[in-house]
Symmetry: D2
Subunit: 327 residues, 4 copies
């Protein structure tokens, strides 16, 4: 059975903060959240948001996390420091604001490298449009691609992974789906670019996760896998396998076949409805292990690939049902 590192969203551990830290006023610090995350059985890594979770000394912060038993899987950009970013980061119409977003990203890449990681995930949610006649699409696209290239060239040894999402916060994102992201990456042309696939974003984009992964593998590189679940109408951030169990299993089979060896990161929102984030993360790990065992049973059985080669969905379902039941 393939073995993955398991990483998770640090902010989840602010869930029910007042009951976990009765004396806390305000929000927990990143290190407090990390200490709580470290109690999750099976968790190996964290992703840190930049600049939100970053301290002045990333190397020291990394050592403190290592003392808790946690590695840094990578950093992820957040463009909240300047309120003007609401109208766009890499596509802001004001060249000064746009450059500020680019420079912040470069600093984030430097910070990622100081942790020893070589992975920066970029989600460009602010780059989009809400209204007809709001945007000059050609200029916006050119600005986006040029900025992606500029940050990728900042440090060729750091992998830059673009995480797409169709909507939210903008009504429409410039990079809403797998294929538009691949078009941008091809146009940018930097070899250290790749894609992070977030399961709930993929559903929200009306895509099949395993198909998206296969296309990313064919046309670029899959650099990150965010597992969670949802109903396809918004970015629900639910527990892994809680809704689309078979699509999750199919994704795991696909990324194993394509040789993905990065972390499995849980981008779930237990804090949104007050769930226990430690139990929730342990449930996610348990579900992935359960599905990886089913994936193992499937790969040992060539009847599935024969059924798939005929697009025989009935036989494939029966084989998958049995594999999920452990029989």
């Amino acid at each position: 059975m393939t073995s993955y590192r398991y990483a998770t969203r640090l902010n989840s551990f602010a869930s029910n903060a007042q009951s976990y830290w009765p004396d806390l006023t305000g929000k927990p610090t990143p290190m407090q959240m990390a200490e709580r995350a470290a109690t999750v059985r099976g968790l190996t890594d964290l992703d840190l948001n930049y600049p939100d979770h970053a301290g002045d000394d990333m190397a020291a912060q990394t050592r403190r996390l290592a003392d808790l038993g946690l590695g840094v899987n990578g950093l992820a950009m957040r463009y909240y420091t300047n309120p003007n970013f609401k109208l766009g980061a890499f596509t802001h119409p004001d060249p000064a604001v746009r450059q500020e977003a680019i420079d912040l990203t470069k600093k984030g890449i430097d910070a990622a490298r100081e942790t020893g990681s070589d992975l920066m995930t970029i989600w460009l949610g602010q780059d989009g449009f809400d209204y007809s006649f709001q945007a000059d699409y050609n200029r916006m696209w050119a600005d986006e691609v040029a900025a992606i290239r500029e940050v990728a060239e900042h440090d060729p040894d750091c992998q830059i992974s673009i995480e797409y999402k169709p909507n939210e916060p903008r009504a429409f994102s410039l990079l809403p789906d797998m294929a538009t992201t691949l078009l941008a990456i091809k146009e940018a042309g930097s070899p250290n670019l790749g894609v992070t696939l977030d399961f709930a974003h993929v559903l929200y984009a009306d895509e099949v996760p395993a198909f998206a992964a296969a296309m990313i593998h064919r046309h670029s590189r899959l650099l990150g896998v965010h597992l969670n679940d949802g109903y396809g109408k918004r970015d629900d951030g639910l527990m892994v396998g809680s809704v689309n169990t078979k699509a999750t299993l199919e994704l795991l089979v696909q990324i194993q076949r394509d040789g993905y060896d990065g972390a499995i990161y849980f981008d779930t929102f237990p804090d949104a409805s007050g769930l226990d984030p430690v139990a929730e993360c342990e449930a996610n790990i348990e579900t992935v292990e359960r599905l990886l065992r089913a994936a193992g049973r499937l790969s040992a059985d060539n009847r599935l690939s024969e059924a798939t080669s005929r697009q025989d969905a009935v036989t494939a379902q029966q084989i998958v049902n049995a594999a999920l039941e452990g029989t």
Copy 2:
């Protein structure tokens, strides 16, 4: 374990008609499709569309089906005989066309009774609107409710079950969802009215199936359950449990608790992509039996109801995962 009758969609058995009936020209007859359906292991019943599947002598037709080992679960209205019905059946603006739809329904109810069944399912897909300013909503609603009452009163011993669907063929249906249907039934007031819940329609309406079933049980009566599956963006008609396994299990648990004892009807479309309809139907029965076993394990375990009473989704997921794995 609860035992259900299993019924299915007759038109599914036109799938790959030319390879099944090499000498066939045109479409198979209803009785040809029934003969093919009779080869499905475990199938007990059929639903017949009216007037499409009805012959001149319903009693004789019922006996021929009985000879094949199949009962008639009920009839289902189709409003295709008059092309004017495209603009509306019970809500057509022309009183003569509207009355024709009502009268056709009454004949269908009579035909249902001649089969020995007491169930007529009505799907009012043509009753809706496509454009702003196309419809006088108050008149349309009043026409719909009055027609539902009129056909219900035609034969108080026949259960009239309304099957809702949010869109298609009209851009918006007048009875799109569970609650609007219940409002219409309350206003019509006839005691022999109830609701048929179609799983894929429920997803398409952005509803949770078990919640819809519970509300129908509280406010009216659940008279029909159509199982299938889909992705919530259209009426996919996929195999049971192929996408939303847990929501299907939750629905089965809910209807058992509420005492549903009608048939489980498979409203799937194997013919849409050329799947083998016999194997597909057998897979659906097998999946339901599998899920009913899991439901039995869950009902024997009061940890689930305790978790649900706290809305503790993490614990509930773990219990359900184990029950589905058969452990």
Copy 3:
């Protein structure tokens, strides 16, 4: 031409706060936002969130708003004071937390009355579910209805208006759409209950706004109209008429016909993407006035009602197109 009071969302005026109030640290106060809102030409009223926007002395706060030329249209409940409300307000499984939400609502009703308004809008976004097997739907529904009845009976002279929304923050709301809300109101039975229709929520619920308004008028009372716009996939909060111009016009025609005389409230989010909230609100008022003029032209022309009575969408479109063009 019908004349409406125009109210708007106070928090919109935090948009670009740092450029409007260069010396501001943190967020602007409610009164600062009100002062900015008062510069909007044509704005007559505000809605205040409770408890967020409420001070200790509502009468004094109302006088200060009056000095700015603004009335208080009503109050709107927000359940953010206790983090436990994330799992539910009126449906929280812990009776103590549930009662806290009810008591907070009663205090909000008292505060509304102290402003001289008789309108409290309740949006129960936290009352819902995210997962299969998370909720006991019957208990949740009974708790919701009982709490609605309890707060309605607290002050029979205060109108309690329920604003529905299908999803967000929970994956599924208990009161997601027009008809479910009407079922709850019928079951609660209090005469001072009614419904607030939010245009973008209606689109998000896959409903036609004018149809929803007509059904609310038939089965209960329309107590609030929130205008904005969006693409139906989320609660976009865009400028009025920016996407669904004709559906907005149809809604205005419908509520005029049904005698709605409350305020037109703009529930838009200019702050989400950094638009100028004063110009945005003025554009909304200008658009509504433009559409009310078109509505006047339509009501003076009986060709439209004739076309609608035949469901003749082609003729209706041509008449509406001409009315919108001012010809």
Copy 4:
């Protein structure tokens, strides 16, 4: 003002066939429908489906259409002749069925050329998947791209335009959106490939039409524009401008700027609800002319491009509102 040829969907003219042709039994012939279409004021062209609408002698058929005053804008492939195509045309797992689809397409291209047109539109709706584990995505993609290349190379002087659609008839199309289609075209590499943009498909794919057009222009060529309208949840096929008036106007402005000089084709479904197809088509032409006049007013006013360059949506809306009102 730009002047376009106007083409339309021939099958629309089967709407209410029995009342138009009282003596007709069965369906009207393509030439009967063309005769009815020829009564539409302003219509210049038809698109013919292949093989459905094609006779033995395309040149003679073209002359008969010319006698009616109608040109042939192009042909459009339909894969209905072999029921096996339901599981796939260019991606059918059986090489013989797949080759049959390719060969049929080549014949269609030959037929298009015999009409004097150089445009073949290909919609690959059957090429997709319904279930997890049904498809080998890499093989399916390679098969699709190779077949597209093969038919494109069949006649380099015929433009081959791919029309995408996200869902239906399959749950997921292989070429669901603008960017996936562009990826396939880039990989196929044939210079005579391009894209047909269908407005309702674009909405269904959760895309902004003008953005899609701009990206197609940047990365390939826009070879066809299908106008209609809808609500984004399915392929509604409504009258142009009936829902998303501003997005339609923005698309017209964008394609004018990018130099599109093909026909405007109305892909609407008046037959689905029994509308008069002649009046409906005339209304579509009238709406486009109305919007082109508004586009002319906008292009003469550089305040709009200034607002767009700042992403100032408020100012842009006000300018567009005024242009639509003709002021």
